[in-house]
Subunit: 510 residues, 2 copies
Amino acid sequence: MISGFGQLLFALFGPLSISRSALFGIFLTVLLNNSYTVLALKSPFLPRHGGSLGSTAKDSVIKYKTLYFDQKIDHFGFHQDGTFKQRYLVNDEHWYKDGGPILFYTGNEGDITWFCNNTGFMWDVAEELKAMLVFAEHRYYGESLPFGKDSYRDPKHLNYLSSEQALADFAVLIKYLKRTVSGCQFSPVIAIGGSYGGMLSAWMRMKYPNVVVGALSASAPIWQFPDMVPCGDFYKIVTQDFTRSGLNCAANIRQSWKSIDNISVTEEGLRWLSSQFTLCSPLKKTDVSDFKAWLQETWVNLAMVDYPYEANFLQPLPRWPVQVVCTFLRFDPKTVSDHLMLVGISDAVRVYYNYTGNVPCLNLSSTATGSLGYIGWYYQACTEMVMPMCTDGVQDMFEPQEWNFQAFSDECLALFGVRPRADWANTVYGGLDIASHSNIVFSNGGLDPWSGGGVTRNISDSVVAIVIPDGAHHLDLRYNNEYDPQSVLSARAQEVEYFKLWIQQAKRKG
Amino acid sequence: MISGFGQLLFALFGPLSISRSALFGIFLTVLLNNSYTVLALKSPFLPRHGGSLGSTAKDSVIKYKTLYFDQKIDHFGFHQDGTFKQRYLVNDEHWYKDGGPILFYTGNEGDITWFCNNTGFMWDVAEELKAMLVFAEHRYYGESLPFGKDSYRDPKHLNYLSSEQALADFAVLIKYLKRTVSGCQFSPVIAIGGSYGGMLSAWMRMKYPNVVVGALSASAPIWQFPDMVPCGDFYKIVTQDFTRSGLNCAANIRQSWKSIDNISVTEEGLRWLSSQFTLCSPLKKTDVSDFKAWLQETWVNLAMVDYPYEANFLQPLPRWPVQVVCTFLRFDPKTVSDHLMLVGISDAVRVYYNYTGNVPCLNLSSTATGSLGYIGWYYQACTEMVMPMCTDGVQDMFEPQEWNFQAFSDECLALFGVRPRADWANTVYGGLDIASHSNIVFSNGGLDPWSGGGVTRNISDSVVAIVIPDGAHHLDLRYNNEYDPQSVLSARAQEVEYFKLWIQQAKRKG
């Protein structure tokens, strides 16, 4: 499905090629209408570099029914009255069939089976809560394509890709389940999601409190929007992770950009870099900014998945991968040569890209067509999900780059024919002012760069924050693991207690 | 403006002619694509029979600035990125210019100046609250036309007429005012509206609690949707008003339909009816159902505006107009002849249509092109605002008519090219389950038929109901009047106390 769709995008948008430069992380250069445009887009959630879709369940193979629901393409207008098949996955083996709760995963920007497989927490607690599990796919991702193969054809077909439409999908689907599934009518529904899916679960409770009794919003940067948090926090947290994971580690990465500049001025240097990093394609002078952006993204991804055990979320990785990376970066940045610096860097990135030892070469441009999710998310970032990021090279280990909304907007117009609306998310989802809502748990990991845009303090008695100091990106949503730190075990226990409280409240009311 | 637009609609939709029959009140027959279709649409709020747009301020002429804001045509999609001029009216003569509150009227389905002039309550309390008054026009009404003259051209242009878009307009406008008007940044905003505008004010607080600190939702039938309240309540309340307003009054109206049937079988009878009712056009056999629907609507409108003083809301009327009407309907329904019955009915309706004595003849079809609001509201009723109504002739004084959603839906398709979504309002606005919200006052008048779909019991400490037993349609929103019953004075006082409470809460938080 994904790869076929990638080919389709290729055919529709023209040849995609990654050409990163140094705005603030990730750039996507797309040959569109025969002109190159640079798109500055941080993809916050989906892996750009592969990422297995296989099950990550520990011991057992998880089982679910795959179902489809006819959703309206447009919930907010009536001219377009068509429907599409929204995929959702259901497991009810532990469900108490007379009003037992429903744990409802509000799908992110990708194939729902992947999120289903990577949200072991729901599988772990289903029996205790006698809960039905539902994983609902987000429109425009996976198989839930409003216009089938044409969904990404042009701005007209992309028009119904928005968080508001996705939330309405979830609400309508839940109402449908309550109406049609025997025993469901009085089932309290709890929204659960991680990352963008966590933003959706929180917003679901905010916008549809009649449909879900509460929400667990894990590692959800609902404040990573303009004028809510400093744009530099994200990369500061990445840097802190590397700082605490090994002597000189962040300092060397901060220094490495200069080493790349020094080495890459000569053809010989470029050849050496290509060889030392075992790149699949020789590095050209014009690729250097892409090369840096690729490295920058690697450090970001490592921080996101700095889990305490071997895992395969974005890549197969050892336990505490940032610590492993940092073992290659212990030298003194003041005295190390450019070459030795980059030998260390190359060894370090290989932890991320070649932990299995089976990868013959590293590919800077392998990600753009790798997953449908990217293009969809880029469109969302180019419309509602405007998430400013910046670096200063002082509080973080990256080359300084300001946030430039106008340039970003121009790139979005060139790529998708739309302009982002910087203020909309703040208006529609409440910004910092969310105190009037209820029954939302925001969980965040201290190691997770996205925690910078997350809710990490209690807002009220029932809009609460759980911080997992040694947790990376939504560690709490993953399966229990023997190497889990106490903090995540405690977080999960609290989360379950909140679920029980909300279920009790609903039963009392009902 | 209005009349020009009426002509435009005429040109676009073809000749409009009212042809009422007896489904449940008001029917609109429209010659569309050369075929007649009957549309069963209850227009809940706007007058169909004229209605002065002139000021109804008691002593003083109210003053406001007329301003325009560039609103996005589509808040929920990015392909249509155009803007239109949304009109809004501002008075800040009493405003405390450093954080004083804003009373924000969430405009209904009509010209905002008319609502501004008929919401004297806001003008009466502005000084005490040191409040700025803002009256925001609802898109597609008055001057706030997303596509100018083409706004009603076809389903494509009508696509952005929805309550969700209107709420987003209000939210974006308020954010804009806070950002740009000096002293506004920390001004608590209270949403106020009556009727459909009251539904919007309540929904505004539910969906945008970050934008408004509370809402007064006056005479707002937020539960007049499928499966929330019995479909017969509306007409039951109309009937109760007539029952209590005079001996035999409702019984005679209930009997009158049969008298019309009896008289109208002959050509002579039709001529007599035309003469007795001083109709502008002679009644034909095929007009009889329209004639009955016109009468039915007259009784409904009288119940809605049964105010305790002379007023000119829908029509110039005496105080307690239903009592005046009932003075003509005191005879014994068991013994009265059909002719005497209808003499009484004709005198009764003349109270409504010719209180001034200046109306030369009564026009059954004068309303359809009289106001832009109707077509817009019919479209809304044909999409989101599905409000079931029915009569049984036993608990009410009308001819029995069941609610028939399928027929209604077919009519909507024929007229507008859209089908209503019966369940959507319940899903998106919470239905009966609104207890998790806060800071909403629902006020309802006991005489108002729309109170049947309103919130008339306290839902929680901060979602509360105020009932005004001898109040008609949003009497509390009108200017103070010497004839006001104690119940409405008390209601207004409570409403102001809630405003003060919400303002205090906001100041403490801010």
